[in-house]
Amino acid sequence: MKDSADAQASLEAVLKDEIIRMYQEVADDPAGEFHFFHGREAAELFGYEAEWLDRAPAGAVQSFAGVGNPHERADLKAGETVLDLGSGAGLDAIIASWGVGATGQVIGVDLNPSMCLKAQAHAAATGTNMECHEGRMEEIPVADESVDVVISNGVINLSFRKRRVAEEMYRVLRPGGRISITDIVSAKQLSQSIVNDPKLWAS
């Protein structure tokens, strides 16, 4: 049992590095070729409003690597606190900040500290007050019952411990709070060769 737990922890550590590497690459080389659509092309594909994409900092738009549009059903209201799980370069957090207005608050969480800095710089460039915490979605560095809405875009599928992520989202939400997330799911069990290959899993 301990061997199994150790192997899982070891795989998770390698996966963390691979996820940081892959999404850092998207941020550093937005013109690069990836197997997924990214940047403005992807955001337009998922129905992000042109006005949002024109208004947001170019760096945040270019680094966008989501799989859908969590804003579509987030129904954000002025004054709400939003948590963006896996905030990346900050596009979704910035759009959310426009939804909650000056009386609201947006908190980002990302595995990669340099992405947090980038997101905060992008947010500051739009006059948005966004705080971003380096952390894992399995241990969200946010207090119990402190947010109204959790949004996330293409991130939870990267976790080996999705049950834990669901429990953490529940913990940080206030009673009556909600989630609006877009993510990748698989109808079939992935083969062990994929599960054990951080490069494939991070993809």
Partner: protein, 50 residues
């Protein structure tokens, strides 16, 4: 994921396929389809009385 949300206490869990999602490379898209991989939007509530 749907079941995990319900088991974690969320209610009114809803999901819908993101219709326009696809991988850029056809070979990746083919592999994804073979595994039933798709993008979904999920919404759920934490009960007010919890």
């Amino acid at each position: 994921m749907f079941a995990l949300l319900e088991e974690s206490g969320f209610t009114r869990v809803k999901s819908a396929v993101v219709p326009r999602f696809r991988f850029r490379q056809q070979s990746t898209q083919n592999s994804a389809e073979a595994f039933g991989v798709k993008a979904v939007m999920m919404t759920a509530l934490k009960p007010a009385g919890s």
